[in-house]
Amino acid sequence: MNAHLDGSPTEDTIDVECNPNIRRLTVRAGFNRPLASYLKYLLSGLSAPNIQQVTIWGVVWSREDKDWGGWSEVDQVLDGVKFGGLREVAIVVYTHQDMDFIHQHFTDQFPSMFDRGILAIRKGY
């Protein structure tokens, strides 16, 4: 995504501040810390009272890859009042790795969504 050298957003960074009626938001990319940081930025700027579904599609290359963490802050944003109407947070993973491990990883990273019973972790095709 577009960002200044210090990692801050530019005017060419996609945000959804002007789109208050979004019901479904899907982001496709690789699971890594930059994406987690970007999603935190994107979701923090969203004020769409009717949002029902957030879907994140991505690739996990290796379970040893330490760069695919950092999602607990996204979980905290999604646990805010303005996301009270969420019905599903879906994580769709393209991978050749063991899905049990990936399932556990994202369950640990999204504890609030898991507790609310709206976390769905699926394998992409």
Partner: protein, 273 residues
Amino acid sequence: MQLLPELIDRTIDYLHDSPSALRACAHVCRDWVAPSRFHLFYHCEIKPSSTSTVRLQTGELLEFLRGSPHIAFYIREFHFSVDSIFGMPDSDWPQLNAALPHLLGMLTQLRKLVLHGIRFTSFAPDTRAAFRALFALPCLVDVKVRHLKVAKLEHFTTLLCSPLKRLSVYVFLGEDFGLNIRAVDEEVKAVELQKRPPCRLEYLYADCDMFVRWLLGPQTMIDISAVRTLDAWCRTESTEGLMARLLRRLGPSLEDLSIQLHDIDGWGTPFLI
């Protein structure tokens, strides 16, 4: 015993993805023919393969529809692709240009048109006119173009007509410097003089800078104020910048947003907020 028409429709709808079952249903009785044919001929595709060329498939379909013209009324989706690893020999173009206007002219009930690898400027005038007529059908609400090659963007955008609700524009692979640029320019001028109402899109897929930049410019052909669903595929940083502007322009109409971010392997700098 006579079955209710709704029950027949429900039964046959259930078999929509089974051509062999639909063909069997079409032989049951007269009442079952139309609903079976509705699914059998709903989708029609011409695509080059290792065993058959676009020219051959076009000729075969035209011959079939000339023999059974009523079948053309069942065709609601038409996919036409000339882009493939097999290519198309130059010698095939005259025959294709001879058959296409007749074939396209028969597809009067089309809802969806998918074009892949079309070199619009290179087509003969009659073929271009047939494509314009196809795009102008009041029932055509969904258009998908992929790897379209045009000499100028307006050669494509002037094809779009007001009934259109869904538009997907995949990569413009390159420009088509056919011999007919001046002739197409004249056709475009004639279309622009018609002062047609704009297309009021509800769905948009876009992934190329050239088209999105045009969309955000002073054009009056496409009204994006009612777009409810956007698939924004950002292949490059510049596409993302254009999509960011597009999202701001769409504002409150947007309900369903998909973003594909670019360069998923290359991200090194954490996005700090």
